[in-house]
């Protein structure tokens, strides 16, 4: 779960990492008030979950409360990277002497937390050459020790008080990372401002699998309506832009199914991993989800392990009887209780395929002929 910038900054504050003074507003009038309180030039920042706001015009500067009001009313009218702006952060404009980059993330290959830092932070961090990026793994049993931030400071060229403050920010950021089950905490830029370190931005992503034990965090919904339905059913669902609705069981199998459809020239409408042991009711709901994508054909590819083929067959028939399925269904069904599943389908006039490739080719043929 990604947090909005202002939520990330609230977290930073609670972990004693300095952020610019400011507040979140939802209308231009409030913005003027906040600017007045701050009593100087302010920055107006759209709160959306996508990056590259600056380039899209989602960040404005204002020297007076009136200007702040004007800027906020402009930003609130914007749609950035497909996200409508509904909240805006108004905060003091800080002096920028140097922009650092600092992030902690999970490195799957090393199986450890990874610190990424650079003395060339700011908007173009992706373009900074490797030799200006410092990467250091953290032993999770040990945590962040002063020596580690001394080493990073050295590589970044930080000295004196800034280096000491950097140790504080890194230590606290790691504490946040650990205590809040973050997958990513990122400060870009971490600004050196009159000799002090200030987190001018905040990107925090929380591990979805840890949300049940992170109850005091704000809740942010990123999914589309249909993805949310799938998520609530415990299914992994991603919308795509094709016309073959796809259900398979297992993430790798689902990807393999998309690949096979693409190989035969088809365009999947979605990725849907029905997982293992979803049962008949869950499978029926998954099929209903597929119908919402308005496809030309439905392709079901099941290799029954925990999943039982008879459950899948019954689910399909149930949906068909209950609400009708207006498009052709191509189904491949092997594995646990295969015979029973095939029998149920046959009784209802559906012939199941034995191999993924035959079935995929058929589904693509139907979809392409329907155009």
């Amino acid at each position: 779960m990604k947090l909005f910038e202002h939520m990330g900054k609230d977290l930073f504050s609670s972990f004693d990492i300095t952020v610019p003074r400011g507040r979140i507003v939802t209308d231009p009038g409030e913005a003027a008030k906040v600017a007045l309180e701050i009593g100087g030039p302010v920055v107006v920042k759209s709160q959306i979950l996508a990056g590259k706001r600056g380039k899209g015009g989602g960040i404005r500067f204002a020297d007076s409360p009136d200007q702040a009001k004007e800027a906020v009313s402009q930003v609130l009218a914007m749609v950035l990277n497909g996200h409508k702006v509904v909240k805006v952060l108004v905060e003091e404009k800080i002096r920028i002497d140097l922009e650092l980059y600092l992030a902690i993330t999970v490195d799957g290959e090393a199986k450890k937390p990874l610190i990424i830092a650079s003395a060339q932070g700011g908007m173009e961090i992706e373009l900074v050459p490797d030799e200006y990026i410092v990467k250091k793994h953290i032993d999770i049993s040990m945590g962040v020790y002063p020596f580690l931030s001394r080493e990073i400071s050295r590589r970044l060229g930080l000295t004196g008080q800034v280096s000491k403050d950097f140790n504080h920010v890194l230590t606290q950021l790691y504490k946040l990372f650990r205590e809040k089950d973050a997958e990513l905490v990122e400060i870009n830029p971490l600004v050196v401002s009159d000799g002090k370190l200030i987190a001018a931005d905040a990107k925090v992503t929380i591990d979805d699998d840890a949300l049940t034990r992170q109850k005091d965090l704000p809740c942010v919904e990123e999914r589309t309506a249909i993805e949310k339905q799938a998520h609530d059913l415990g299914l992994a669902f991603v919308e795509l832009d094709g016309n073959i609705a796809v259900m398979a069981n297992g993430a790798g199998m689902s990807m393999g199914t998309l690949d096979t459809l693409s190989y035969y020239g088809g365009k999947p409408a979605n990725f849907l991993d029905a997982g293992g042991g979803t049962g008949m009711e869950g499978t029926a709901k998954a099929i209903e989800l597929l119908l919402q994508t308005d496809p030309k054909v439905i392709f079901i590819n099941i290799f029954g392990g925990i999943t039982r083929c008879d459950d899948v067959a019954n689910a399909l028939i149930q949906v068909k009887k209950a609400r009708g399925i207006p498009v052709p269904v191509v189904i491949r069904l092997v594995g646990t209780n295969e015979e029973e599943g095939i029998r149920i389908l046959k009784e209802n006039g559906i012939t199941a395929y034995k191999t993924m490739q035959e079935a995929a080719a058929k589904a693509v043929e139907i979809a392409n002929n329907a155009n």
Partner: protein, 288 residues
């Protein structure tokens, strides 16, 4: 022979009294796995499928040598259960549990590495040394003895390929599921090293996915292997930036792309199948 587990491996099931634990204990016993005990706090004295239940791993270890443990506990209890098994000195730990928080996974893998425990998973289907021992959840019928070592991440995709092999008369020495989460205990390279040394394994199949760079790392080792390797990488058609179920299956920037992985594997001498069922054909070629 086979790798990691064999017909002599004594296995305990942590979380044996849950529905998954019960079901798969039965399936493992059917397969011939030596399931010698189960652990479920507060349930000692019970039996599941004739297997004695203990309150703690130590209690089970007092009775017999325990070589491996498999976890069917829920995600919230997984770290405690894994630490219990590792602390007790169990050398193979198979973690079926999915949705374990990634910080817990990092801690488990770190502690296991320090103690010399091999962790298969988390979020894995398990490991099968065909005809000898199955630890995990794959359907029994497809796994028959033979010369192919297979390592993959996804369960059903692996079953798909294994069943295709078996249908074409190609059995397996050992099939290992690394697990679908971003953090996994054993890596491709760990498994490839063992297959390279295992004299029953004549050829190796690697079933990868887009995202991360595990397949690129594996390629470096494949380059040094004497045994032929056939690979399949899932996710060729996946759009960038979208998570596809597995945490690993996400492409960020230029890292972990399908093309990058295929080129690395081919440069290392592996044959890469475009679709899952082609793996069998390529294997037949390299085994000739």
């Amino acid at each position: 022979m086979a790798i990691i587990i064999n017909e002599k491996t004594n296995v305990i099931v942590q979380g044996i009294t849950g529905s998954q634990g019960r079901f798969h204990t039965r399936q493992m016993l059917f397969y011939g796995t030596k399931v010698i005990g189960g652990v479920s706090p507060g349930k000692s004295g019970q039996e599941v499928e004739g297997v004695p239940v203990y309150d703690t791993v130590c209690a089970a270890c007092e009775e017999q040598q325990v070589d491996a443990s498999v976890l069917f506990v829920n995600a919230a209890a997984a770290k405690d259960a894994a630490f219990e098994a590792i602390s007790a000195g169990i050398k193979v730990l198979v973690i079926i549990t999915e949705h374990i928080p990634v910080h817990d996974e990092m801690e488990i893998v770190d502690f296991a590495r320090c103690k010399g425990t091999a962790v298969v998973g988390p979020n894995t289907f398990g490991i099968v040394s065909s005809g000898k021992c199955k630890i995990g959840i794959p359907p029994n019928q497809f796994f028959v003895e033979g010369p192919v070592g297979l390592v993959g991440r996804s369960g059903t995709l692996t079953y798909e390929i294994v069943s295709n092999l078996t249908a074409n008369g190609l059995g397996q020495s050992t099939v290992v599921g690394l697990g679908g989460d971003r953090i996994a205990g054993l890596s491709f390279v760990d498994i490839l090293e063992k297959f390279e040394k295992d004299y029953c394994t004549k050829a190796v199949v690697l079933v990868g996915e887009i995202g991360g760079n595990a397949e690129e790392e594996a390629s470096q080792y494949i380059n040094k292997m004497t045994k032929p390797v056939v690979a399949y990488i899932a996710g060729k058609s996946a759009p960038p930036g979208k998570r596809m179920g597995h945490a690993g299956a996400i492409i960020e920037r230029d890292k972990g792309t399908y093309i990058g992985k295929v080129e690395a594997l081919q440069a290392a001498g592996a044959k890469v199948a475009t679709l899952p069922f082609e793996v069998t054909d390529l294997l037949c070629q390299v085994l000739k």
